[in-house]
């Protein structure tokens, strides 16, 4: 745990950074829900690849939650980084594509039975 006390002097006291960090947490939860669905499909239809994709999506959810914490830290310091790095955002968009592929795969696999 960090003992650094965030300083909000000269800034909107905390609410903008807080909403942004919460936004990351909610996104992580939404990824986790989809991970659960893909994982379930993988087990129900006995498809190890689909189950593995579910596990990967869970890891992505954990990463999104962790980045939310990193963002909260960044935004908690005056003069800290404000603009998010472009890569985590690109990664989140890629995760949606991955989840969509998993969703379509789970539908196609089960519909073909």
């Amino acid at each position: 745990m960090s003992s650094v006390v965030p300083s909000y002097e000269g800034r909107d006291p905390g609410l903008q950074p807080e909403r942004t960090a919460l936004s990351w947490s909610r996104t992580a939860l939404a990824i986790a829900v989809n991970a659960l669905l893909v994982l379930r499909s993988g087990f129900v239809s006995d498809q190890p690849l689909l189950a593995a994709l579910g596990v990967a999506l869970f890891a992505a959810a954990a990463a999104a939650a962790a980045y939310g914490v990193v963002r909260a830290r960044e935004l908690g310091h005056e003069g800290g980084v404000v603009m998010p790095s472009a890569w985590p955002l690109l990664a989140v968009a890629a995760v949606v594509l991955l989840a969509a592929v998993g969703g379509v795969a789970s539908i196609v696999v089960e519909a073909g039975r």
Binding site: S23, L37, V82, M83, L89, A93, V96, A99, V101, A111
Partner: protein, 117 residues
């Protein structure tokens, strides 16, 4: 890691706008994930309504729209950020009306299937 070149163009916008843009991006991502979960759940649990083919088409369609929204959300975040850095108006996007149309059509189709089923 190296950042895209457009990030050094123009001037840094007010941090609140940058954060709002980030949250908007995440809101679109969550919308895409919700559509995707809706499609998968529809397929998994709507075994008693409508023709199976229609359910499968709807579910896959929702997943495809989710994938498109996921890609679009990044493109829009980037476009908004660039526009703000140059003090230009935010670019207009047809994503909102298209999403509304998809949601309306999807919900209406499911409602009809439930009523007729």
């Amino acid at each position: 890691m190296a950042q895209p070149r457009w990030r050094s163009e123009g001037e840094d916008p007010d941090y609140r706008f940058t954060l709002a843009n980030e949250r908007t991006f995440l809101a679109w991502i969550r919308t895409a994930l919700a559509l995707l979960a809706g499609g998968v759940l529809l397929f998994e649990f709507a075994s008693t309504i409508g023709p199976r083919v229609l359910v499968v088409v709807l579910a896959v369609g929702l997943a495809v729209v989710a994938a498109a929204l996921g890609g679009l959300s990044y493109v829009r975040w980037r476009a908004n950020e660039i526009a703000m850095r140059h003090g230009r108006a935010l670019p207009y996007s047809i994503a909102v009306p298209v999403l509304a149309a998809v949601a309306l059509l999807g919900a209406a189709t499911i409602a009809v299937m439930i009523l007729l089923g």
